[in-house]
Symmetry: C2
Subunit: 371 residues, 2 copies
């Protein structure tokens, strides 16, 4: 018997909602933050700690995995879950965004993209069909259609062309998913349209008609700024089916997350907690801190004595300062763990606040803490 | 009430012996292998995993710690144990070896060494007294006298001069330890003399008269080769007090450890398992393997399905291959963990073999596996 993909909202508070996405590999409590496991690993973390931090799902990058170790190889080894020793759900992106940002010698056409690997210069093709095939080879539980995400700033015409192409690719992705996917997996459509309300409107409306099990909002957090992102969310989320999960791709800071949840977003991913951790930035309830700052050199306090995360609780800021200054692996390991755990604590706090009907107060407090 | 440093031999088998060194911070089962925590961290490992791998004690490097974060700073933060979140015993070296191998613009004299930091060029002094003072500031449980370790090959005269200087520094280190140390800590004397039996003899004899609670054998594994090292051990260990622990510094490969235990050595440290792990070499009961080798790219087998170490048991060689090729933190984390755990399993197996009077058979098997 298969467990079909489903979404249930348990409580709402304003436009914010909390509930769970159910997949064959387990429940994803929403609002959910997905740590990014780029190349089959959440950088500098054991999956055991990803799990114990409270993460129900993680994200894999199709572009990275198709180039190394290769989707067919991962499939021969039993799929991405087994490969990386993570038995919870995995969401994969389509690869399109990173083809655009990382690869060399790209050629775009209606059919798809040809490009060269940034690792070894090898030539590859990416089409809606190949993207879905790869995501199915990886064994992804939640898959993304191939889309075109234009750089910011883009003219109306550029944003429109990319949005229209993304709609056509949504249809082709859906057809490919029928061929390669199964009942336990889900394919999300992606809303594009830059910062143009008219385009976001049309994209959301036409994707809604296609009846995807979930919807992603793409093309944000690419330089348009916090306010402009929130304005786009304001006009986009109400146009999407209220009974489907809404995933804001590549976002964001703690305040971005709170403000997006206030606008009805259910799922997020971002490299921020992991990347910042490797570079010495810690996220805490008192805001962001740069552990390399000299003021931490003799600070015997941990990042957060109240945290249930050993990395935040059991090591002094002075020690973290030392490790990052000395470029020790353990510095990246501890700060990444602390940040991923903090992000999960933030999501758990939002879920509790929504359940208990006090999300507005939580949001005000978050604005004060993180603003 | 203080727990004085002590050593008890529970069983012998030929010249091999098993027992325990007792310190205020806990028992060290011997023969013991000490993972190296150079700059206040066993590189790429959580202390929790160092402990669960079976390590009773770890080593800290005085040279690295005095330069960054600084011994006085560590002392103000409560000592090295608290700083790095390790409550077991810590052994520190004197710093002398790394002053010689890493620092710049060294000047040696009878008094000590002046040198510049390899990190920032700052000027420092190292004398027998300052070395002990630093080790006490760090809170080291087992400390080393400052010695002079000559490079290999050295002439008889060079080796003799260094050995004689080391003996004079042993006296000064002992006097300094009386001033800075306490009853719960121990200071070891270090046998020098290169590969010259006559010098090793004299060094061992004179140090024995000084009645240290333990003895280190320095100046080996510096290029003289496995056979020459064993010959030197053959003539050195019998000259040291049989009721004191004997520590062979900076050694070695699995076979080095087995052959040295066969010659009466009780304690070891080496960067090999940690450094090799970071570079993609795994130690197993079937010998050493280079995980970067293409033959591992699709090998679904773990390093060792029988291991109690998750890193050896729960991840395929294909995954480890991928991680190391992709230069992912997790590759270094898993292979370091696996190697440190393997080294501890090897020590545990030797202790059991000695206890059960079958060490010669164990050694024969080890020669076949690792030779």
């Amino acid at each position: 018997m298969t467990t079909p993909f489903s979404f249930k909202i348990d409580a709402t508070d304003g436009k914010a909602r909390t509930g769970a996405v159910t997949t064959a590999r387990g429940k994803i409590r929403t609002p959910a933050f997905m740590p990014v496991g780029t190349a089959g690993t959440v950088k500098a973390m054991f999956t055991e700690h990803v799990r114990s931090s409270g993460a129900d799902i993680l994200l894999g990058n199709t572009y990275h995995l198709m180039l190394r170790p290769g989707a067919e190889r991962v499939a021969r080894l039993g799929g991405l879950h087994k490969f990386m020793n993570w038995d919870g759900p995995i969401l994969t992106d389509s690869g399109g965004f990173q083809v655009m940002s990382l690869s060399k010698l790209r050629k775009m056409s209606e059919q798809g993209v040809t490009f060269q690997s940034h690792i070894d210069g090898s030539k590859h093709e990416m089409s809606p069909e190949r993207s879905i095939e790869i995501q199915c080879l990886l064994g992804s539980d939640i898959q993304m259609q191939l889309d075109e995400c234009v750089a910011f700033p883009a003219t109306f015409e550029e944003a429109e062309d990319a949005m229209e192409l993304s709609l056509r690719w949504a249809e082709r992705s859906k057809a490919a998913f029928k061929k390669f996917g199964n009942d336990e997996q889900a394919l999300f459509g992606i809303v594009q349209g830059g910062v143009y309300p008219e385009l976001r409107d049309r994209s959301a409306a036409l994707l809604s008609e296609m009846d995807f099990p979930g919807y992603s909002i793409g093309g944000l957090a690419v330089g348009e700024g916090h306010e402009s992102m929130l304005e786009t969310l304001d006009i986009t989320t109400p146009k999407l089916p209220a009974n489907k999960p809404c995933y804001l791709m590549g976002v964001g800071t703690p305040l971005d997350l709170v403000e997006s949840v206030a606008r009805g977003v259910d799922m997020f991913d971002c490299v921020m907690p992991t990347r910042a951790g490797r570079h010495g930035t810690a996220y805490t309830w008192d805001g962001k801190l740069n552990i390399k700052n000299a003021k931490h050199a003799e600070d015997a306090n941990p990042l957060d004595p109240e945290s249930t995360c050993p990395a935040s609780r059991d090591y002094s800021r002075a020690y973290l300062h030392h490790l990052i200054k000395a470029n020790e692996y353990l510095g990246a390991m501890l700060l990444t763990w602390a940040n991923v755990h903090f992000y999960q604590d933030l999501m758990a706090a939002m879920r509790a606040a929504i359940s208990e009907g006090r999300f507005e107060a939580f949001r005000k407090d978050a604005q004060r803490r993180f603003g």
